[in-house]
């Protein structure tokens, strides 16, 4: 294993695989805060060069958090297919990159190899890819999952309808739900981030969502994104839940900060399969985001991209219906500006797909980042071209509870039309039945939320 190279004659040497991984990252403020970033652009390229020569076996054998110390590492390593791994363990990271990009290699080939990859290998190949590489490679891979409907089919783009409200006032949440559906959002999931994590609050919102879904016969999934233990209590009380949500991190310590571990997630999935209201078999929903481990001092001196890859390695065990990175939510100390946000969005999406999970992206930013809505729109178009399963949609891009901006309800249709995509099939049928969509275009009725106020449901 060679951790040294020369660039323009200057020698760059690194102490560990972890250091190489960190320094090979594209520039991110979070890596600078964690002191894992390259000191100069040249050093970054030197690290990429060293990384490109590392064998996949070197990457497997040097996880950024040791196997003995960390259950996330154990999940990732234990779940690898050893036969497939044996076939590729002597590939360099560069070879893996070129194999993925090879025109003879199809998505199904990649999905097979994916079973022999560890998260560190996935992180490594991502660091060697340009933005267009990430789009091109991700486009090859289709990952579908089924809860009540099937997400991820080729040619579709779904939306999570996120009708958040600053006080969880159901009277203020429902008009947002109506507006979202009237624009063809909500085929991925109708999902609310609650302010109040109390069980009775969560049950109440779920009840209203379930009523609305049934009244209008909407083929979709519902979720209230409280802590997973709150949702489990709600289900035990009889609340209708199609899937369980939880934020996860790429290390055991990071998950501890979220109040979860592998055992709890396993128990939750079993409960969802047994007591949930959906058809399944994919009944879990995870959110992640570069930098969350550092924010809870659980990054083990590893870079934020590698930690993010590990989230997907963990998620994969639970066969989720949805996983999305909330790419610009955590602030400028992790992703400083629009450029870093767009890069991270493309990286996360590709890594999710290469990990074999149904991947979506919350293209978003906070007001203390140097970026604006144009960057969100750019990232959305890029990701739609890369075959992203879903985005998050909020009214006019403005989330009035989380105080950040994401894609807007309107963006769903504009991106679908520009890129030539459709909503999830069953959902499009419903939009047609409601007179909101015809031939993949919005009708004159679309965008009028008040259509949901006039009658007592589907006639």
């Amino acid at each position: 294993m060679n951790l040294k190279t020369r660039l323009f004659g200057e020698v760059f040497s690194f102490d560990s695989v972890k250091e190489v991984l960190g320094k090979a990252n594209e520039e991110k403020s979070g890596d600078q805060l964690a002191k894992t970033a390259a000191e100069s652009v040249t050093e970054r390229i030197a690290a990429k060069t060293v990384l490109s020569n590392l064998l996949l076996a070197d990457l497997r054998n040097h996880p950024v958090v040791p196997y003995e110390e960390d259950e996330v590492t154990r999940v990732i390593q234990d779940d690898m297919n050893e036969k497939i791994y044996a076939e590729i363990k002597n590939w360099t990271a560069a070879e893996l990159r070129e194999w993925i990009l090879d025109d003879k290699i199809r998505g199904s080939d990649i999905k097979r190899i994916s079973r022999g990859l560890s998260s560190e290998m996935i992180a490594a190949v991502t660091k060697l890819m340009s933005d267009l590489d990430l789009i091109y490679a991700a486009k090859k891979i289709n990952i579908t999952a089924h809860c009540n409907t099937t997400i991820g089919r080729e040619g579709t783009l779904a939306m999570r309808l996120q009708p958040n409200h600053p006080t969880d006032d159901i009277d203020g949440i429902m008009p947002s739900v109506m507006e979202g559906f009237s624009y063809g959002n909500g085929d991925a999931v109708l999902g609310l981030n609650p302010v109040n994590d109390g069980v009775s609050n969560v049950e109440n919102i779920l009840k209203h969502f379930d009523e609305f879904k049934n009244k209008w016969e909407i083929p979709t999934q519902i979720s209230v994104l409280a802590h997973i233990s709150t949702q489990m209590k709600a289900v035990k009380n009889g609340a209708p839940i199609d899937m369980f949500f939880q934020s996860i991190a790429g290390s055991e310590k990071g998950n501890e900060a979220f109040g979860v571990d592998v055992e709890l997630l396993t128990e939750a999935r079993e409960l969802a399969l047994k007591e949930g209201t959906s058809a399944g078999p994919n009944v879990m929903y995870f959110e992640t985001g570069q930098g969350s481990e550092l924010s809870s001092d659980a990054h083990h001196s590893a870079d934020q991209l590698t930690m993010e890859a590990r989230c997907y390695g963990l998620a994969k065990r639970f066969e989720p219906f949805l996983v999305n990175t909330v790419v610009g939510f955590i602030g400028p100390e992790y992703l400083y500006d629009g450029k870093q946000m767009i890069r991270a969005g493309l990286e996360d999406h590709f890594m999710g797909k290469l990990s074999g999970i149904s991947m979506g992206v919350d293209c978003c930013y906070t007001n203390h980042m140097k970026t604006d809505q144009n960057d969100v729109e750019k990232l959305a178009v890029l990701l739609a071209n890369a075959g992203c399963n879903y985005f998050i949609g909020v009214p006019v891009g403005d989330d009035v509870m989380l105080n950040y901006q994401a894609a807007g309800y309107h963006d769903a249709q504009a991106v679908r039309e520009v890129v030539g995509l459709r909503p999830i099939r069953e959902f499009e049928e419903w939009l047609k039945k409601m007179g909101l969509m015809k031939n993949g275009r919005l009708t004159s009725k679309a965008g009028d939320p008040s259509i949901f106020l006039n009658s007592n449901g589907v006639k």
């Binding site: 008009p175 007001n367 604006d372 009214p395 403005d398 009035v400 950040y404 807007g408 249709q413 919005l442």
Partner: protein
């Protein structure tokens, strides 16, 4: 038998009711016409109350949706131009984002600091960029700065109150002049003494720990600008702790957030904060242990 006078009154009332509904729209339209005809005056788009705006063409139930909209500040019923936003919606969004960014990236004016008789100190951050990228530096002061604080302030106060820009200078500008006297009035009503107030530039919440230690304050309280949303850039938070010390867990702090004109008004928040501080001094604790 109903007499003519009563009947006339009833008719008049009915007409009045009808007129009220129609006149609202009529006034709106008149305002728009006026704006259009008068070329040198364009309406301030940020004056529009978004809760009362409904831009959907030919909606099925305008009134009922407007009624629902009263319960949320989300941008709903905005209509569309093809699958995109109407120009007014787009520009309003950009205007609100501009206000939010300005709140973050501008500084609290010296005028305000002078008007309130405060003095100004800085954390270890050199500028806004460093402040945003290095949360750790926004909690620390140089020895010189701590000496300055120590020299200019009354020592061992029951309550030390100071302001910090945090992530919104606009929030400090909008609220400090109202919230500070309200807290002071409340505390003085309880016979509680407060120390010398000042202002911290590039300050994070945890700047309270070194300040509390330096001045030996029982309760330390920082009024700090919140990360702005699009609905308001003016939201202020008040963080408080009893016997704050470096390294203490976040759960030792109490916070009152969402202080602004459309949230909790600054004066009312100040009155409530006085009660919270009083409870801290009585119970000699703060955070999760505080019973309020």
């Amino acid at each position: 038998m109903i007499n003519e006078k009563d009947l006339t009154e009833i008719v008049e009332r009915v007409i009045e009711e009808l007129e009220k509904e129609e006149s609202r729209e009529a006034v709106d339209q008149a305002v728009k016409r006026e704006a259009k005809s008068n070329n040198d005056e364009i309406v301030d788009i940020t004056d529009v109350d978004l809760k009362k705006q409904f831009l959907v063409d030919n909606p099925e139930n305008r009134e009922a949706f407007l009624k629902l909209k009263e319960s949320t500040s989300a941008r709903l019923g905005v209509g569309r131009a093809g699958p995109r936003y109407k120009t007014e919606t787009l520009l309003r969004f950009r205007a609100d984002h501009a206000a939010a960014m300005d709140a973050v990236f501008t500084d609290v004016s010296d005028q305000l600091i002078d008007d309130m008789n405060l003095f100004k100190v800085k954390t270890l951050c050199r500028d806004k960029d460093e402040y945003l990228k290095r949360p750790d530096l926004g909690k620390k002061f140089s020895d010189e700065t701590l000496a300055e604080i120590s020299n200019k302030c009354e020592k061992n106060p029951q309550v030390q109150i100071y302001a910090a820009d945090g992530l919104s200078s606009t929030a400090v500008e909008a609220n400090l002049k109202d919230i500070f006297p309200a807290i002071k009035q409340g505390l003085e009503g309880y016979n509680i003494k407060i120390g010398t107030p000042f202002f911290v530039q590039y300050g994070r919440v945890a700047s309270m720990e070194p300040i509390a230690k330096c001045l030996n304050a029982k309760v330390c309280c920082v009024l700090i600008g919140e990360r702005p949303g699009l609905a308001t850039a003016e939201s202020l938070s008040c963080y408080m702790a009893y016997d704050a010390e470096i390294g203490m867990p976040e759960s030792k702090r109490n916070v009152i957030s969402n202080i602004h004109a459309d949230g909790t008004p600054a004066v009312e928040a100040g009155a409530h904060i006085a009660d919270v501080i009083k409870a801290m001094l009585e119970q000699k604790t703060s955070g999760l242990d505080l019973d309020i």
